[in-house]
């Protein structure tokens, strides 16, 4: 009987064509608005590293001068070189890395390729393991090379392909970066987490990823080039050496602990560190540290912006309007057919059967609406991709979202169909037959 009802439903699409088309468009528009915003929201607020997001912590130390504290009491989002190096050398966490934005100009060995500008990161060797960075060739430099300004570099797959050709073996080859010769020790596999949760400060969160990674001393002793946010409260002494000595904040610092519960232990260490520094006449403010895991840090940094949340709310309210509208239109469509119901009832159909028939018909409309809704969602995401290059990479719909779209559309249509169907069942056969 179900397939017969399905067929009836399909045939009945042609009945009151204007109302049917209105209903399908209404459903499709509502569903696509809700799905478009939901896709963006989900991509923006998802856990970028679910295996260990509760064990990776972002460290903040309050470095500023007394008397100019910010209103909300929040310490600066980055730390000074001195503190980062002290924490790094102390190695009180199982794994840790400072993170410094940098850049350089690559001079290719090939004649046919002119020099080009690339951006990169100075990190510790733990960085790759901490953030599950996949390698397609070679491996990161060693912990011993962290401190020695070893001339080693890990490059992205894209940079390798550009310099040496696709899938070429780059290990051991040299990279001339702003006149410094570095040896390539590793090549990343495709790795572009969005948002760029490991570097939320001073870089485009949804933009391009870094193309090279070097030990931190390579940045501070050779490249001497800082990219990102720098915040100074005093005036550093001249030159790069003076800058390193200053309390300017420009380094981001991550630690990985063995378990989320080790957090208090490390936090105690941080507080003790600040007290110790105060004896050396540094860090004049009262102890004000922060230790936030990945999701807390993303929340603090406002990764999901208010616009996206507002848009999602409005889109679901919009879907609500579409549903109310569909109910009205279905009501109109179904109540135009009391005669048909009367005849069927008189011929022995039970109310349940009428109910099943009309609900199936509502379901058919939902399916067609879902199809159109998916097409419109893809269109809307293409629009978003075109106008906001920032979030372009976020807007790919996956199978999961596709299924959710179909389900929402179908449930919406069935829910909308309940009231009209129930009303259709109230038709009294006798009354209808009389007036035929």
């Amino acid at each position: 009987m179900f397939f017969y009802y399905l067929k009836l439903g399909a045939v009945n699409l042609k009945r009151n064509p204007i109302i049917t088309i209105l209903m399908i468009i209404t459903l499709a528009v509502g569903v696509s608005a809700a799905m478009t915003t939901l896709t963006i929201l989900r991509a923006m607020s998802g856990d970028p590293i679910p295996q260990k997001s509760d064990r990776l912590f972002y460290v903040q130390i309050d470095t500023g001068p007394v008397g100019r504290e910010s209103d909300n009491g929040e310490p600066d989002s980055q730390m000074a070189y001195t503190d980062a190096m002290n924490l790094w050398r102390a190695k009180k966490a199982p794994m840790q890395t400072p993170l410094i934005g940098t850049s350089g100009t690559v001079s290719p060995d090939r004649k046919d390729l002119s020099p080009f500008f690339v951006s990169g990161l100075g990190v510790g060797s733990d960085f790759f393991k901490m953030f599950n960075v996949p390698m397609v060739q070679g491996q990161p430099w060693t912990g011993e090379q962290d401190q020695t300004a070893a001339d080693v570099v890990v490059i992205s797959k894209a940079l390798r392909d550009r310099l040496f050709g696709e899938n070429a073996d780059a290990i051991g080859k040299r990279l001339i970066l702003s006149k410094h010769q570095l040896t390539i020790v590793g090549v990343l596999d495709t790795w572009n987490p969005l948002p760029k949760f490991y570097r939320l400060v001073g870089s485009n969160r949804y933009g391009d990823h870094e193309e090279f990674f070097v030990p931190i001393p390579v940045v501070t002793e050779k490249l001497e080039d800082i990219q990102g946010q720098v915040n100074c409260s005093g005036r550093p002494e001249p030159g790069f050496a003076g800058f390193l000595k200053s309390d300017c904040t420009w380094i981001q610092y991550w630690v990985e602990l063995n378990a989320a519960s080790d957090r208090d232990g490390y936090f105690d260490y941080l507080n003790a560190y600040v007290l110790e520094q105060q004896k050396l006449d540094r860090l004049p403010r009262k102890v004000n540290n922060r230790l936030r895991n990945v999701m807390e840090w993303m929340d603090r940094q406002g990764v999901v912006d208010n616009d996206t949340i507002v848009a999602t709310w409005l889109a679901f309210a919009f879907l609500g309007v579409c549903l109310v509208n569909t109910i009205g239109l279905l009501l109109a469509k179904f109540s135009a057919r009391p005669g048909e119901i009367g005849v069927r009832r008189a011929l022995g159909a039970s109310r349940t059967e009428i109910f099943a028939q009309f609900l199936t018909e509502a379901g058919v409309i939902g399916l067609v609406g879902a199809g159109l809704g998916i097409a419109m969602t893809l269109g809307a995401l293409a629009y978003v991709r075109h106008y906001a290059r920032d979030i372009a990479l976020l807007t790919n719909m996956d199978w999961m979202m596709l299924m959710v779209t179909v389900a929402i559309s179908l449930i919406a249509a069935l829910a909308a169909g309940l009231l009209p169907t129930w009303r259709a069942c109230q038709v009294l056969p006798a009354a209808q037959l009389k007036s035929q």
Binding site: I18, I19, L22, I25, T26, V29, G30, A33, G67, R68, S103, T105, S107, S114, P115, F116, F117, S178, K179, S233, R235, P238, G239, F240, N306, D307, I309, V310, A311, W313, L314, A315, A317, F318, G320, V321, C322, V324, N325, I327, G328, L329, L331, A332, S335, A336, Y383, V384, Y387, A388, R389, D390, L419, R423
Partner: protein, 408 residues
């Protein structure tokens, strides 16, 4: 007016009118809030930067390794740029309004003791005239001369500029309530460098590279500094309509000059503005689309249900016509009925719009919705409802009185 019989008919058959009223209420709540957010975003994106936007571009070059004597390289570059036909002005400039990256200094003050000052401003500097290169409007004092320019090598010393030009917004923040900007001329401004810099000019407007909301987005100042680094960043102003060819010629000429640096970016101001406000425009665009679709859908719902009523009531309409009602009376019946339903929905929508806004205010720090937007929304709903019901009403008016005699 026949309001009473219409009302009693509505109450007897509640479902459909309730659905329309609910739809009107929801639509009104969303449209009023969306219109407000759209207006806010478009207003933010339309704020002027103070620069001659149509004719400005920026070129950046990055050095390959260290560069000796950046001063003479800058001079050769600028001579080359100024020789290009169509170039009105060219200078080295550390940043550009709306460029989204740049320098910011805190602790600005007219007094020496500024330990607690939290006033900050965007820190522009250039060895030439930014007033010329960006086309800014000077409202008091004078521009820098070549004698004012101070060479600064970041590797060996700290900048000590003697003079500064500030924006009106920064002047207002430094000395609240100021009316005559000439008063500030000759006064020292602290916080820029070791020594205070003397204010010699006030410009109408110059947005910061971040163009934040409110007055903060226009708190900027300019210093006459020649910065001796390998970062070559030029501002170019062209004759009207000449920007595209000028920018192309400039990029080619600079690339040809030396092989030890890389052309990093070349952008017109229009591109810089577009990139700064991409998110605002996207949000406004999506909300406009949502609003239009919503109105369309609500209208379609009213058309659908009104058509249904007309069909259901053909006999009654026929009877009324047979009893002497004119066509206009039938049309008026449907219009009045629609106004009643819309009004009911709109009143409920008013409450809904304000509660939705309340949630947005509390959760998203969005400013409170002015009541005028709800008023505009209600007016839109009335007009929309009347337009939507007009078609079915006209069809109802065409029902011939003879229908009354056919089946009864």
């Amino acid at each position: 007016m026949e309001v009473r019989p219409i009302l009693s008919t509505l109450f007897r058959n509640k479902t459909a009118p309730l659905l329309i009223a609910a739809q009107v209420a929801l639509t009104l709540a969303i449209v009023a809030n969306a219109l407000y957010i759209i207006q806010e975003r478009l207003a933010a994106a339309a704020r002027p930067s103070g620069a001659d936007e149509a004719n400005i571009a920026r070129i950046e070059l990055s050095p390959i390794g260290d560069m000796a004597d950046p001063k003479s390289i800058q001079e050769v570059d600028l001579q080359t740029l100024r020789a290009i036909p169509g170039v009105v002005s060219a200078t080295w400039a550390n940043q550009i309004p709306l460029g989204q990256s740049g320098w910011n200094s805190g602790g600005l003050s007219l007094k020496e003791d500024n330990e607690n000052a939290s006033l900050s401003g965007a820190h522009y500097f250039s060895p030439g005239s930014l007033i010329d290169a960006y086309g800014l409007k000077l409202i008091a004092g004078r521009d820098f001369t070549q004698d004012d320019v101070f060479d600064h090598d970041p590797d060996s010393g700290n900048a000590a500029p003697k003079f500064v030009i500030i924006t009106k917004a920064l002047a207002d923040a430094l000395q609240p309530g100021i009316t005559n900007y000439n008063e500030l001329l000759g006064k020292p401004m602290y916080g820029v460098a070791e020594e205070p810099a003397q204010i010699i000019g006030v410009i109408e407007r110059l947005q910061t590279p971040w163009a934040n909301a409110g007055a903060e987005g226009e708190q900027s100042y300019i210093l006459p500094i020649r910065y001796l680094t390998g970062a070559f960043q030029y501002a170019i102003r062209s004759e009207p309509g000449q920007l595209e060819p000028v920018l192309k010629a400039a990029s080619e000429a600079l690339s040809k000059l030396r092989s030890d640096r890389v052309l990093n970016s070349q952008r017109t101001f229009a591109e810089i503005r577009e990139s700064r406000y991409a998110n605002e425009m996207l949000m406004a665009g999506l909300l406009i689309a949502v609003t239009l679709f919503l109105l369309l859908i609500t209208a379609s719902g009213i058309v659908g249900l009104a058509s249904l009523w007309v069909n259901q009531r053909r006999k009654q309409i026929g009877v009324r016509r047979a009893l002497g009602a004119r066509k206009i009376d039938v049309i008026r019946y449907f219009l009045v009925e629609n106004v009643l339903i819309t009004t009911g929905g709109a009143l409920f929508g008013l409450v809904l719009a304000l509660s939705l806004n309340q949630v947005l205010v509390r959760q998203m720090e969005i400013p409170r919705l002015p009541l005028s937007y709800v008023g505009i929304g209600m007016a839109i709903m009335w007009v929309l409802g009347l337009l939507a019901v007009l078609g079915p009403a006209l069809r109802a008016a065409k029902v011939p009185p003879a229908v009354a005699t056919r089946t009864i």
